[in-house]
Amino acid sequence: MTQASPLLSVRNLGVSFRMESGEHFQALKGISFDIAANRTVALVGESGSGKSVTSMAIMRLLPENNTEITAGSEILFEGRNLLQADRRALRALRGRDIAMIFQDPMSSLNPVFTVGDQIIETLMLHTGMRRKAARQRAVALLKEVGLPEPDRKVDAYPHQLSGGQQQRVMIAMAIACEPKLLIADEPTTALDVTIQQQILQLLAELQKKHGMAVLFITHDLGLVGEFADEVIVMRHGEIREHGPLQQVFTQPQDAYTKALLNCRPQLDSRPARLAVIDDFLQDQPYQVPPQRERGYAPGDDIVLDVQGLCKSFESREGLFGKHVFHAVKDVSFQLARGKTLGIVGESGSGKTTVGLTLMRLHQASAGRALFNGQDILAMSPSEFHACKRRIQIIFQNPYASLNPRFTVEEILLEPMTLHAIGRDHAERKQLAAALLDRVGLPRRALQKYPHEFSGGQRQRIAIARCLTMKPDVLICDESVSALDVSVQAQVLNLLQDLQDECGLSYLFISHDLSVVKHISDQVMVMQHGQVVEQANADSLYANPQHPYTRQLLSAIPQGWPQQKGTQVA
């Protein structure tokens, strides 16, 4: 670390929010750290750790009416305390000296202005450029961030660009005025894995080229190895560990850091049970559990046999024209009883459509799906009703997929009543309570509403709801993607236990290749609606045949540089 005064110095920063109930929630408990000029600092933490609050506090963007900054807090930028700066000074600073990019580029860009206008606006505001000059500079910036056809795209609206392109526009906007500090708040979380890698490379390049300091905020320790100099690990509003990149990865001091490093599924190891945070907070040192063997074996009982599944969507074009979009093209696979088939692919690959079509939530355009020998796609609605409970789905967003007006008891009893499971109400209630035990929730949860639970708990409720119907096949559509790494490990462990216990078969749809590697016996890679490769998990990851599979695998963020060599290339 440099001895000269750092670019940004956060001292004893404490932030609390006044809740509607009148209580105070202490989001930051007096944290201190420095960012030197031209350095990249990664701030890592799970939801609720206070990492985003920190970035918003630096930008002074926290809502004024319910935020309280603890007395004695200081945020010194080039020696000036931002907490005492007036509005005018802050406005001059924002966008010029400190710029920011956010998690979701689609919603962070104003949808009704062209991307060019939004960059030009920043330039005209801070540099006093005329419109024409600003426009030329905007095109140059778009070119610098690698947007194809920058002189045409400058007039595009945000929705006309892909997610990766939108994030490039956000970056162009942020570096427009050559800021000294760039704050990147989860800039790649909403993006596909290959796009994520491109954006990270771009950020690293720009950091070097422009000599900016970067504060990189993420929940994923795996990402920071790509280009951070220092790592700060936060939990519950406190800094748990702060040190140079290599030290944090190779010799973590704090139990929580160790846990974070271990609970993320690795490509080169498949423990029978993933580590969770609690394993590290106990007195005994963590013992790595034995490895688990996976893969289809000859003679496995096939529970679901899908042959030539197709799904196309039609849309109108012109006066009489029709446009047909083939979302799923000739997809065939077999799901063995008690095993897991992982489906990976980027957004738009058709992986979700496969799941929805098998649930008959979409009408298949062609193909057969033999469930225990019967084609469920050809059944009449009444015939299918009997099968319905045996194939269930868990969605990605546990916030949106549970009815907010139902108690957990109602959520669990409804499918049982519908499918006449259990003799009477009392027996169903018994079953519901037993299932809650099974997924690791207390029985008093029955009387609560979904909003009273955290994301991981809600996903447990969703799993319990599926289990009420004693399904044979469970489709997990990005079921752990919205969860924190540590919670994700718990839910993956639960899914594994349930599979071992009840012989469930999983169709595990995810964009996260490490998670899929961990849980799957066989893996199917999809691109543009087609299966490009399908093989036993171990052989697919060890020896990918298709170029697209190789591309996906090489884009996986792999901790920090020295680990890379040991892993699959």
Binding site: M59, R94, G95, A99, F102, V112, T122, H126, H159, M173
Partner: protein, 312 residues
């Protein structure tokens, strides 16, 4: 775009046909026999037959419907049963007074409600916001009739600031003498719900991520509000505005009645009163056409303010 407009216009044909069929069935089913009303108290079988022949009611139902279709296609609804004037002339003379009142009201109301809504949305949660919300709720819970009667009594009769009612042939006189009081009372009625609705549009937009981006750029709150938020918040505002436009042609029923304004609203009431079927039919068809056309216009305006909208 052109293909879209053509397709939408084409889709209006079955809709209009549906409206006509419904209208025709309603008139024949619940409308009763108008010849009894027209014949008055002293009717004989002969006068009745005579009237029925004149009105074309002695023809078979399909034939009558065909005549109706013809009327709609030529937009010639014949003559009024009560005054014998051509329907087109009646409506032509009524639309002027209606628009004289309704257009200024629409413009002033839109301008005021958008500005007030933007201000209270900006200071949301403050005392001002709560007071405005309270006033709006109170204003919405009082019947329009109360405002009209109280306004006529206090402002016109007691204080003499306005004439109680009346209308002239001169546009200027109407605008500065007869329009202000009904305009004021109309505003009191329409502002409260509009302000509340527009406020919620603004507040919703202000919570979006792009507002945070705009702040992070260093833009001032005024620019954020007037440039970034306004254009997005206008999208629902335009919809509600377009939905209300067809009613311009219906006039303000109560206001025209109470202030003696010879507009469409008054005419509708008169026509219903006298079972003047040709006039009612004509107005219904015109309102249906206006609704469809303004809906189309709303979708096109949408496309202009919101580039994300795809016209399909």
């Amino acid at each position: 775009m052109l293909a879209y407009i053509l397709r939408r216009l084409w889709q209006m044909v079955p809709t209009l046909f549906g409206v006509m069929l419904l209208l025709f069935i309603l008139f024949n089913w619940v409308g009763g026999d108008p010849s009894y009303i027209l014949a008055g108290k002293s009717f004989s079988a002969e006068t009745l037959a005579n009237i029925r022949h004149q009105l074309g009611l002695d023809k078979s139902l399909p034939e009558q419907f065909l005549i109706f279709v013809q009327q709609v296609l030529t937009l010639d609804f014949g003559t009024s049963w009560s005054t014998q004037q051509p329907v087109a002339d009646i409506l032509g003379s009524r639309i002027g007074p209606s628009l004289t009142l309704a257009l200024p009201m629409l413009l002033v109301s839109l301008l005021l409600s958008v500005i007030i809504a933007a201000i209270v949305a900006y200071v949301r949660g403050s005392l001002t916001d709560r007071i405005v919300t309270l006033i709006c709720t109170l204003a919405m819970s009082v019947s329009a009739l109360v405002y009209i009667i109280a306004g006529q009594y206090w402002l016109a009769h007691k204080l003499g600031w306005f004439p109680i009612l009346g209308w002239s042939d001169s546009l200027a006189t109407n605008l500065w003498l007869y329009v202000p009081l009904p305009l004021l009372l109309g505003l009191v009625v329409s502002l409260a719900p509009d302000i509340r609705f527009y406020r919620s549009c603004f507040v919703e937009e202000m919570n979006h991520d792009y507002v945070r981006t705009a702040r992070a750029k260093g833009l001032s709150e005024q620019v954020i509000m007037l440039k970034h938020v306004m254009r997005n918040a206008l999208i629902p505002v335009v919809t509600s505005l377009m939905m209300s436009l067809p009613y311009l042609f219906l006039g303000a029923l109560l206001l025209e009645r109470f202030f003696g304004i010879p507009g469409m609203g008054n005419e509708v009431l008169n026509a219903v009163d006298r079972s003047d079927f040709p006039v009612i039919k004509a107005i219904t068809i015109y309102v249906a056409l206006a609704t469809m056309l303004f809906n189309l216009l709303a979708d096109i305006v949408y496309k202009l303010i919101d580039p994300r909208v795809q016209l399909k």
